[in-house]
Symmetry: C2
Subunit: 314 residues, 2 copies
């Protein structure tokens, strides 16, 4: 089964405590596509400028990403630059955003793209997300959405409309709280369910992920790394691994969703180990399975009965 | 086997988004003792003023806590008041601290107390923690320490001395980073190991716990609650459940340490569901085992092979 992603392809300039990198490959759809490519066939719909380098198209193609939906326009590719806090890598400040050709993005899907069974609407304007979803026919088996604070503050009614129409939503912790108007995460998830999505996936950065899926709550810590080089793209890589696994297996059971969340976390944990998609794009099958096993080792604990019943108790 | 705790018994006044409570039972050693009492025999060494209410001594006794080390002095009991952020329950501001009789605390152990096999040095001045440890004879099977930012900033050389002398240290995330001078938690844990403790337990509040135990890393998310009433005492209750389990089973294997961390989290999760020790002090054996099972359900995921091998991979 295959997976369609609509989002941004960009050039990023980032500064982190580990160093800095100018004009490197970025964008939500880029990270997502490469991450998902380890599990599933991916079709990418995005816009690039005439400055977009052939080697970056080739990188996507080397991951068997279908780039026929990568529209080239006159002008410059979307650019973002930001700096991460030395005290808290979860905090970053945007220094500059240049939408460039992304400002004119108006995705038109081909017949084949419209029939894709799994759809991921990466972080773009909610109005465009709706425009994409309306072109899908038949309705995909699963429609997932990513959002961010900017749209929560700026286009709330458009955002509500698309949130109501999707099956799964990815939000970071702060976004979930802001969108729901509720500090308690379990309650916030309930309010988001009430708007529409059956599956709510709350990304907590270095604190892991919380999945609320029709009454099934799943909490997973983040993988523990000795060194984080650049957090950019971690959330999009997480979503890519998650959705790639779902598209590949078709397993939407609670077990399947939990496993997808672990694989998303595995993939995202590689992304942050280097700048841009350098580490993400160079993964082997063995590295992925080894880190999945390491995740199990990191989080597993023996049941209460394995050590006998509770020693006392009143 | 039994467990000795030396720390504070206090009256707290707190304000949280859920409400407020004046002059209620608090203190690190109070929460610790009640939490540990569900698993182990506990002896408490602390100081109280002449305002300390008989009903609070009776509450401890009803949990079979040995209160013979509860020294009563002329003056008022230690008092603390604080307010929790409505945006982030992990953040609190201290409004007032009155040491009162706690300022004169100089713990002297009885012959029986000196021979206790498990020792918990709750958050008191590092110099006093050392004074207690020096009285122990023979050396306990396990000595654990809790600390806080105040001492990291104020009495660093005294703190270093006691950290070097213990087997296990509990620190919150910010304390671990400040003590180690290192933002990355895995690296911070390594630096703390290098000072002395074989087991480093990093408390992450609503984000769970990270245990670093001689090369074994264990990450556990916090239990997800629909409502948190008052976070006060969560960390001390966690430590109480953790140490109570170790003292009861004597199981210091990596499995045993992991299970203790889960039980600590279980106990701490009850504490925050009401003000003071109201919920903590009213637990049944079934409630503890049920929540342990709920913790397993919240965190368990199926192995990769349960769904067949990875669908693709390059």
């Amino acid at each position: 089964m295959s997976l369609l992603v609509v989002g941004s392809v960009a050039y990023d300039s980032v500064k982190t405590p580990a160093g800095s990198r100018e004009t490197s490959l970025g964008g939500s759809a880029t990270y997502f596509s490469i991450a998902a490519s380890y599990f599933s066939q991916v079709s990418l719909v995005a816009v690039i400028g005439d400055d977009f380098m052939p080697e970056h198209v080739e990188l996507l193609e080397s991951h068997s990403v279908d780039v026929s939906g990568l529209e080239r326009r006159n002008g410059k590719t979307f650019r973002w630059s930001g700096v991460y806090s030395t005290e808290d890598l979860n905090q970053r400040e945007t220094l500059d955003t240049q939408l460039n050709v992304f400002a004119e993005f108006s995705p038109e899907l081909t017949e084949e793209q419209r029939a894709t069974e799994y759809l991921f609407l990466a972080n773009i304007e909610p109005r465009l997300q709706t425009q994409v979803l309306e072109q899908m026919s038949p309705r995909p088996k699963l429609v997932a959405l990513d959002s961010m604070n900017f749209w929560i503050d700026g286009s709330r009614s458009d955002l509500d409309a698309i949130v109501a129409a999707v099956d799964l939503i990815f939000m970071d912790e702060g976004e979930a709280r802001a969108f729901a108007g509720e500090e308690n995460l379990a309650q916030a998830a309930k309010r988001i369910h009430a708007v529409g999505p059956k599956i709510v996936v709350i990304k907590r950065g270095e604190h892991g992920v919380l999945v609320s899926n029709s009454g099934d709550l799943f909490a997973l810590p983040a993988f523990i790394l000795d060194r984080v080089v650049d957090p950019t793209g971690a959330g999009d890589s997480f979503a890519g691994g998650f959705m790639g696994m779902l598209a590949a297996t078709g397993d939407l059971s609670t077990r399947g969703i939990r496993r997808a969340a672990v694989l998303g976390s595995v993939i995202g944990s590689f992304t942050v180990q280097d700048f841009s998609a350098d580490r993400l794009a160079a993964l082997s099958h063995d590295e992925i399975t080894d880190r999945f096993a390491a995740f199990e080792k990191l989080t597993t604990f023996a049941g209460l009965d394995d050590g006998g019943p509770l020693p006392r108790g009143q």
